[in-house]
């Protein structure tokens, strides 16, 4: 892939809104690390990736000490990995699934594990966790003792047990 052409286009479009770093591993594989100052700019990056026939491999999220969340998208453009980092302070970010469908599961997983909402995502269903488990479970540390008593914030399970008891 012609990475210099891709980077040039993004620099021209985003200007000071992004910082770009390039690295090469010991096997000679090139990767790009990009930080976006404004989270809305992810749409511009996604459109560029689409025009270069790239795909979203996955996205990583983690909670920072100040309560904000960092989201890193990992894209592939013909063998080159592009990591794009955004930060969100208000538990929401703009979904790129309508532009790059391969980001579908990654964004849904961020929603249920961290409680960060991908605005405009076409699928609102849960991915892995049951509806009785509150969104954002990876934001919390749950000790084993608490886990054994149940982490559910709803009483759906207890109601089912109660129903069975009442029905004999």
């Amino acid at each position: 892939m012609n990475t210099s052409k891709f980077i040039k286009i993004l620099r021209e479009t985003l200007g000071e809104q992004c910082s770009i770093k390039e690295d090469k591993d010991s096997y000679g594989n090139h990767s790009i690390w990009m930080k976006l100052k404004v989270k809305e700019s992810i749409n511009v990056v996604a459109n560029s990736i689409k025009s270069f026939k790239g795909r979203c491999i996955v996205a990583t999220a983690y909670k920072n000490r100040d309560g904000s969340h960092t989201i890193i998208y990992h894209f592939d453009i013909n063998g080159t990995i592009l990591n794009v980092e955004i930060k969100t302070n208000d538990n929401m970010f703009f979904s790129i699934t309508p532009i790059i469908p391969s980001a579908n599961w990654a964004e849904r997983e961020i929603r249920e594990m961290y409680g960060v909402e991908p605005i405009g995502h076409p699928n609102t269903d849960r991915l892995f966790l049951d509806y009785s488990i509150a969104k954002g479970v990876l934001n919390e540390f749950i000790p084993l003792s608490k886990l054994q008593r149940g982490v559910s914030k709803t009483d759906i399970m207890w109601k089912k047990v109660e129903e069975d008891i009442n029905n004999g």
Binding site: D25, Y27, N29, V58, Y62, S102, V137
Partner: protein, 363 residues
């Protein structure tokens, strides 16, 4: 009004727990499909941030049994990238030998499951018997039939002497004619053709849009094999070892099965080439290297496709964040394309054709 059919979460034709809710018309053609996941979710990504790197090496071996070599392989590569460690060539070669043995055995298992689903039990028996050559090898060389526990930070835990090399080559020479014969039988078996040709179609443009990888992509005419597109380990240092497989264009269940056969044959070729010229030297550098602050993204080609690890460290003994994505994670979405418009009776065969690894996907 269509007929609602539920398959799973526990079913004799499902390898792992998945739940399909299908709506079919009067001709049993699937009109709607809903797939419910999450039965094997264990919160492993949270667990790894509460364990040190050595403990996580053991944990990654246990994400799932069929991929129990790829996870630690990719994880150690991520750690080595952050610590700027260059692994000795002999260790790289030994990693690749173990990985390719695992790839061949994993793909043969999936093909055996395909013959099971088509009720071709003679073929299933022969496929599993051929796989036994590789299982025996794993047991003899690494001491275990599934978890080979090969990887170590900066190298590997095992070594091969001349006697073991001869033993591996002897076993592979016995397996090769059987694998080639099986390939012909799968390609020409009437029942397999009847059940697999034109079934579970994934058009190339849809495969590109969803971002599928591995034999699923190769069955739809796309070759995004990481060993070729972004070579790592010995595939980068010795390009002649890179697989020479060509994608298949049928876009159906049989094409994906044949792509797996291509992978198996290439895996055996890679092991034989490597063992004929095994680099000399150390098998590891140090057992407990210091892991500084940093972040890395590393990927490898697992039997089912691209496996990627993201690792962020702060110089302490535990990772800040560790994230991995397995091939089934993206290949799963393709199921909806493959199943819609196909017959209800083909659903489990189509599911098997992506070789789903639910334990890995849900973590």
């Amino acid at each position: 009004m269509g007929k609602t059919i539920k398959i799973g979460p526990f079913h004799p034709e499902l390898e792992e727990s998945v739940y399909f809710k299908l709506v079919a018309d009067k001709n049993s053609i699937v009109q709607e499909v809903e797939i419910v996941n999450g039965f094997i979710h264990r919160g492993m990504e949270s667990l790894v941030t509460n364990r040190n790197f050595m403990q996580n090496l053991i944990l990654t071996e246990r994400v799932c049994s069929l991929c129990s070599n790829n996870h630690p392989f990719t994880f150690v590569m991520a750690v080595e990238k952050i610590a700027n460690i260059k692994v000795p060539s002999r260790a790289e070669a030994l990693r690749v030998v173990a990985d390719e043995i695992k790839r061949a055995a994993s793909n043969l298992f999936n093909l055996a499951m395909l013959s099971h689903l088509t009720h071709s039990y003679e073929l299933m028996k022969d496929t599993l018997e051929t796989r036994e050559y590789l299982q025996d090898l794993k047991e003899t060389i690494w001491g275990n039939r599934m978890d080979m526990s090969v990887n170590l930070f900066t190298g590997v835990k095992y070594d091969l002497d001349a006697k073991k090399v001869v033993h591996i080559l002897e076993k592979l020479n016995l397996a090769i004619p059987k694998i080639k014969e099986l390939q012909k039988r799968f390609e020409n078996d009437e029942i397999i053709k009847q059940r697999c040709v034109g079934v579970g179609i994934l058009p190339t443009e849809k495969a590109l849009e969803i971002g599928v990888t591995g034999p699923v992509a190769r069955g739809s005419g796309i070759n995004n094999d990481v060993r070729v597109k972004a070579p790592y380990s010995l595939y980068a240092l010795r390009p002649e070892l890179q697989p020479r497989t060509k994608p298949r264009n049928g876009c159906d269940v049989l094409s994906r099965a044949m792509a797996r056969f291509d992978d198996i044959i290439e895996a055996v070729r890679i092991i034989k080439d490597l063992l004929s010229d095994l680099p000399r030297g150390k098998t590891y550098l140090e057992k407990r290297p210091h892991i500084p602050e940093g972040e890395a993204v590393v990927r490898t080609e697992a039997p089912r496709g691209e496996l990627i690890y993201y690792l962020k460290t702060d110089g302490s003994q535990k990772p800040i964040r560790m994230r991995w994505k397995v091939p089934t994670y993206t290949n799963w979405e393709a199921l909806k394309v493959m199943i819609l418009g196909d017959k209800v009776e083909n659903v489990t065969i189509i599911l098997n054709s992506i070789d789903p690894c639910i334990s890995c996907t849900e973590r």
